[in-house]
Subunit: 310 residues, 2 copies
C-alpha cells in the first residue's frame, strides 16, 4: 500500500534522481517517497541518509548510468557539473560534461527502456537579460553565461528526443529556489545566505548596488512543479517561479525584518554573468496544469528563518 | 594597390575562411579577393585552385588552427562537420566536433590575437517549425534537428565571447543559398539539383507532397551579406534571406519554365527533420545595414541555368 495522494495518482512508480544529494534533490526525494514513489539516487557521493538502492557515479563520464536506469519509470535530471558563476571559465568542460553527458543519458535511457524525463533547466540564465518582464517561455534565448547555453541546448535535445523517439520530456526553467536544506551557504541561494550571515553576525556581500532583481520560489513549490511535470506526456517546457521580481535590497529588508537583526553589508562590483533583472511569466504552467505557487515570499522567508538553527 | 570598392572600404585586410572549399566558400574567396582582401583557406583538403597560403586541417580536432589564424584580421566560419539531414544520427559527434570545435576556435583566436568573426548560422534549422511567418530573429528557437541545436549554441557562445572578451562577432542565419558552383548535386540545394536533373533527363525526388516552403537566396546576395558582416562591430545576429517563401512545387514550375524541359518527379514520404514552411523576416539586417537582397528568384534561376553546362 502506498499513501499516494489523489493529486499525483498518475506518478510513475520508480524514479531515478540524477543529482539527488543537492538541495533540491534531497527535498525531491522526501516528496516522492511521501507519494509512494520508489527513489534511487545517482550522484557523485553518498549522502548521509543513503539507501541500498543508491548509486555513486560521475555523470561527466556516464559511469554506472545503465545500472542506475534499469527498472526505472522516470528520470529527474537535476545534475549539473557547473554553476553559472564559474561556467565561463571552461565552457568546453560545461558542454562535454553536461550537454554531451545528457545526450549519453538519452541513449542509455533508450537502451534501458526508460521513456520519461523531467529536466531542471534554468529560468535565471537561459534568457540572458530579458527584453520583456515577466519573461515568457517564447522570449528569445540570449544567455550570457555558458551554463545558460548548455541548459538551452539540453532543452532542444529533449524536444528532438520527444519528436524522434517518443520520449516524454518536461523541462522546467526554474527560478531561484530557497528554503530549508540549503547547505552550501554563500554558493547558492541569497536568501539562506543572508539569513545565515545575519544569524552569525557576519558580513553580507552584495555584487552590484542591490538593484539586481530575481524571481524567488520556495522549494516546496519547486518540488510540486517537478512532481506535476512527471505526470505530463509529450514534450513540455515551462517557466517555474513566483512570477514576481524582488531586488536584493528588498530581500535584505525582509531578512532584517524577519530576523530582527541588522545586517552588515559590503557592496562589491557587479559581475559580468549576472543578469540585471529577471522574473518569469508563469501563465503557461498555471494555465496548462494544476500547479501554481502557494508560498508567498514573506511567508517562505519566515518558515526558513524558523527552521534554521539560531 | 587594391581595387577595393567604396562600399567595403572598412573590410579587414586578411581573412581566414574555415570551410573555404565548399559552395559558399569558393564564392566568398572570389568576392573577398575582388575586394583586395588576402584570403587563406582552412579546410580538410586542397581545392584544385589552392594557393600556397592555404592550410589543410581537420576542424573536428583543431589541427593547425593556430598556424591558420596567425596574422589574420577576420575569420569567416563556414565549416560544419554535419548536415541537417544526418545530424540526428550522431548528435554527440555534432556537438563535440562543431560546438566544442568552435569553443576551441575562439580560444585559439584569442591566443592569436584575432578579434573578429563572421559565423554562418542556419535560418532553416534554428527556428524549427516557426509560429510566425516570416520568422524574425526574436522568434523562439525550437530546432528539430541536432544541426540547428548546435548552430544556436554557437551563436550563444559568440554572444558571450563578444561580452566577455570583446570579440566582434556576427552570426548570419542564412536561408537556402543557390547559384553557380553547387557541385554536390542531390546533397545540397534543390534548385541546382532540379536543374541538373532536368538537364540530364533524370528523376527528381521530392520528399513530401511538394508543399514544403523555403526561403531561397542567390549566392551573390549571401556573399554580400557576409562581406557586410565583416565590417560590423560588437555582436550581431541577422537573418539573411530573400524574405519570401516558395514551395517545392513552385521551384519545379520555375525550373521547367526556364529550362523548357518537363521534369520526371518521384514523390517520397516526408522526412522528420524537414521543417514544413519557413521564410525569414529580413527587416533587421536591411534596417541596420545597407545590405538588401538584389537578385529575384526567377532572375537568379535564369542566371544559374545559363551558367550550367547543358
Amino acid at each position: 500500500m502506498t499513501n499516494r495522494s489523489a493529486k499525483f495518482a498518475s506518478l510513475p512508480r520508480k524514479a531515478l534522481l540524477l543529482g539527488g544529494n543537492g538541495f533540491l534533490g534531497r527535498n525531491l526525494v522526501r516528496a516522492l517517497e511521501a507519494e509512494g514513489v520508489s527513489v534511487r539516487i545517482y550522484d557523485r557521493g553518498h549522502h548521509a541518509q543513503a539507501r541500498d538502492q543508491d548509486i555513486v557515479g560521475d555523470f561527466a563520464t556516464g559511469q554506472r548510468l545503465l545500472e542506475a536506469l534499469t527498472g526505472v519509470d522516470v528520470v529527474f535530471h537535476l545534475i549539473s557539473t557547473t554553476i553559472p558563476s564559474t561556467s565561463d571559465a571552461d565552457p568546453t568542460f560545461d558542454v562535454t560534461s553536461n550537454l554531451v553527458g545528457t545526450l549519453r543519458l538519452l541513449e542509455v535511457m533508450e537502451t534501458a527502456g526508460v521513456h520519461r524525463i523531467v529536466f531542471l533547466s534554468s529560468g535565471g540564465t537561459v534568457y540572458g537579460n530579458p527584453r520583456v518582464l515577466p519573461v515568457p517561455e517564447t522570449a528569445p534565448l540570449e544567455p550570457i553565461c555558458s551554463y545558460g547555453v548548455v541548459k538551452a541546448g539540453i532543452e532542444n535535445y529533449l524536444r528532438i528526443g520527444a519528436k524522434l523517439h517518443g520520449v516524454h520530456a518536461t523541462a522546467l526553467r526554474l527560478a531561484n529556489p530557497y528554503g530549508p536544506g540549503e547547505t552550501r551557504i554563500g554558493v547558492h541561494g541569497v536568501i539562506a545566505t543572508f539569513f545565515a550571515r545575519v544569524a552569525a553576525e557576519e558580513e553580507i556581500v552584495i555584487w552590484g548596488d542591490g538593484s539586481v532583481v530575481r524571481d524567488y520560489i520556495h522549494v516546496d513549490d519547486a518540488i510540486g512543479a517537478m512532481l506535476t511535470a512527471a505526470t505530463l506526456d509529450g514534450f513540455n517546457l515551462y517557466n517555474v517561479g513566483s512570477g514576481e521580481g524582488h531586488s536584493l535590497t528588498e530581500i535584505l529588508d525582509i531578512v532584517q525584518r524577519i530576523s530582527g537583526k541588522k545586517a552588515k553589508v559590503s557592496f562589491r562590483p557587479a559581475r559580468a554573468f549576472d543578469v540585471q533583472e529577471i522574473y518569469l511569466d508563469i501563465a503557461r504552467i498555471t494555465g496548462e496544469t494544476d500547479w501554481t505557487p502557494r508560498i508567498a515570499l514573506e511567508q517562505g522567508c519566515a518558515l526558513l528563518w524558523a527552521a534554521m538553527k539560531h
